[in-house]
């Protein structure tokens, strides 16, 4: 028996459930940490959208590439990034996955194919296209997946990527996470027409999918990833979802007027992908309530361990602040100015 008529084995379904819960609990921790003033920089949480990252990344291995967004914790964790390394990074610690140099908007792990979160809206699109080019040249069936928001879909580079990927039949999957908002602007005010349709003039297949249904996302991604691996070129998936938290964690401190209805948020909370998936797993007899509880337990331990790891990690050393600018050490470059 498989959920919703998918061919998904039980283990895979449970693994997806586990990942969604992991993302959620990690971010709930971050929300508390932010409120407590423990995070040095801004964080954009993915709460409510977990099914998208998880449903897509379930098809990927470490050898596939993803690019992500400013709302990137979910993609990082779904692709197999280390929770402790991420937590330490967002805490700004030396053992962070980027040594404290990047922070929330730049969590990356190239050894896992995670090209990283991105502070530039739309910034991942060209990177993913380039990774897809590399994958095509490698010729061993890798794919590149680009996660981007509905707001990012208005950056022209999306259409540039559709054009090149179509022409070159690149193994690229463009995943638009349409959560209804571009910061504080509702989509209707800044996004004309349909995003999925934007792929069509280039001959790139596109589907719209319920982004709060992890199985539906899995299915859409399954077809698209297979297409890409087989050399048939790019696809676009528009996943309809919603962010139930703010655009950025401290937004109430500077956004003085509401930009959306509380009722709308409530309605979407009712469509929360995690309980929804849980109900389905239980209803279809694929998991017991106890099993799902056990997931919560194991995830809670991972989160606690991540916090412990992050808190125990030292601050980076000030003397290392110039960091790794260049791989080939520059000869004869002027020493740090201001040194008198």
């Amino acid at each position: 028996m498989v959920a919703g008529g998918s061919n998904l084995p039980r283990e895979e379904l449970l693994e997806m459930y586990r990942r969604m819960v992991l993302i959620r609990r990690m971010e709930e921790q971050l929300a508390r940490d932010c409120a407590a003033g423990k995070l040095p920089g801004p964080v954009h949480l993915y709460v409510g959208e977990e099914a998208v990252a998880v449903g897509v990344c379930q098809h990927l291995s470490d050898r596939d590439w993803i690019t992500s967004t400013h709302r990137g914790h979910g993609h990082f964790l779904a692709k197999g990034g280390d929770p402790a390394g991420m937590m330490a990074e967002i805490y700004g610690r030396a053992d962070g996955i980027c040594g404290g140099f990047g922070g929330s908007m730049h969590v990356a792990d190239f050894s896992k194919g995670i090209i990283g979160a991105n502070g530039i809206v739309g910034g991942g699109i060209a990177l993913a296209t380039g990774a897809a080019l590399a994958a095509q040249l490698d010729g061993d069936g890798r794919v590149a997946v680009c996660f981007f928001g509905d707001g990012a879909a208005n950056q022209g580079v999306l259409m540039e990527a559709l054009n090149v990927a179509a022409l070159w039949k690149l193994p690229l999957l463009l995943v638009c996470e349409n959560n209804g908002f571009s910061e504080f602007s509702p989509s209707a005010t800044v996004t004309a027409g349909s995003i999925a349709q934007r792929a069509r003039p280039f001959g790139v297949p596109a589907v719209e999918v319920d982004g709060n249904d992890v199985v539906a996302v899995w299915q859409a991604a399954n077809a698209a990833v297979r297409r890409a691996r087989e050399g048939q070129g790019p696809s676009l998936i528009e996943a309809r979802t919603y962010r139930t938290r703010g655009h950025v964690e401290y937004e109430v401190t500077f956004i003085t007027e509401p930009y959306r209805d509380e009722a709308e948020v409530e309605a979407w909370r009712g469509r929360d992908p995690i309980p929804r998936f849980a109900r389905r797993l239980v209803a279809e007899g694929l998991a017991s309530a106890a099993e799902l509880e056990a997931v919560e337990g194991s995830v809670a331990r991972i989160v606690a361990e991540a916090v412990r790891f992050a808190e125990g990690s030292p601050e980076p050393a000030a003397a290392t602040a110039r960091g790794h600018m260049f791989a080939t050490a520059p000869r004869g470059s002027a020493p740090w100015p201001g040194s008198g």
Partner: protein
């Protein structure tokens, strides 16, 4: 005169100028919600025709500003963060900075581009660049960097009334800085530096966000009887070189503080100008306190290490004063 935050001063300037000139149109991403507070209330006051939220498409909006200005509007275009100026750089560098020149002065381009610039808030590399050296090198755009709330108001009014493309760069994390702001319609002409503190021992040129640590360092040194003259150029293009040269001719010593990466910084440029035009007045090397040629890191301890701070400024001043020509 009333005590106000810098961002409030900007907000007042925008409000007053849009009131004054109905041909002003303002647009950018989320200017209605207003992330920084500078455009707060404008949408309500002036309506959706004159105040427009754009989609995220910096390449378009930076160029739309040029087209609308060429077609007779006075434009305020919000670029949000300095780094997104790179995203909209094509129309800025290739159109805004050139269209008037290329067409032999046929048109004016009254555009004010707003952006926050620089670091200091753990926003990391893609939200913390100080972009003024890049803009200054384009030649065809003016660059304004207010160092106080009062200056912010007077300079923003001047920027908006100016008939050329002007970048008004507000220092990140300085929006909350408070100071006395005149209630009257004060307009500070672009290209006039401000001597923030007189002194006879050394000239300290500090730009934008760096004015505060510069003044603190000067204060601290005053305790040791060292009198530092703090000059805030306020606008980078045009540059009030006369005030700087005049000061250096009196003090003989120059330190510059600029929250820019060192290579091709404004600090470097002013140092070069002085080394050319006031060489005979200089009695010590010209020192720069700048950001090393790296990105702005996330962790506070790292970020503090790369951004110029009071101690570095003090150290540079002391070293300059202590310098003796080798025998």
């Amino acid at each position: 005169m009333a005590r106000k935050r810098l961002i409030q001063a900007m907000n007042e300037a925008l409000l007053e100028e849009m009131e004054r000139d109905p041909r002003i149109v303002l647009f950018g991403e989320d200017v209605k919600a207003s992330l920084f507070g500078d455009t707060k209330g404008l949408w309500k006051r002036f309506g959706p025709d004159r105040v427009r939220d754009t989609p995220i498409c910096e390449a378009l909006i930076s160029g739309m500003a040029v087209g609308a200005a060429a077609a007779g509007r006075r434009v305020v275009c919000h670029m949000m963060f300095g780094n997104f100026i790179y995203t909209g750089m094509d129309a800025i560098a290739n159109q805004a900075a050139k269209l008037r020149y290329m067409t032999n002065g046929q048109i004016k381009l009254p555009i004010t581009y707003l952006a926050v610039s620089g670091g200091g808030r753990s926003a990391a590399a893609q939200h913390s660049d100080a972009v003024h050296p890049v803009l200054a090198n384009l030649g065809g755009v003016k660059v304004v960097m207010p160092g106080s709330p009062a200056d912010a108001k007077g300079l923003l009014k001047a920027a908006i009334r100016d008939d050329d493309p002007v970048f008004f760069l507000q220092a990140a994390g300085r929006g909350g800085e408070a100071g006395e702001v005149p209630d009257e319609d004060v307009v500070i002409p672009l290209g006039t530096a401000s001597v923030r503190r007189p002194g006879r021992d050394l000239t300290l040129v500090a730009i934008g966000a760096m004015v505060r640590p510069a003044l603190k360092a000067a204060d601290a040194l005053a305790g040791d009887g060292i009198e530092v003259e703090v000059v805030d150029p306020r606008t980078i293009v045009p540059l009030d070189l006369e005030t700087i040269l005049g000061s250096v001719r009196r003090t003989g010593r120059l330190v510059l503080v600029d929250e820019a990466r060192d290579t091709c910084s404004v600090a470097s440029h002013i140092a070069a100008l002085v080394a050319e035009r006031a060489f005979d007045a200089l009695v010590a090397p010209v020192r720069r306190v700048t950001v090393p040629d790296c990105c702005i890191p996330y962790a506070p301890v790292l970020e503090r290490a790369v951004l110029p701070g009071v101690e570095q400024v003090e150290a540079a001043i002391r070293a300059t004063l202590a310098w003796r020509r080798p025998a």
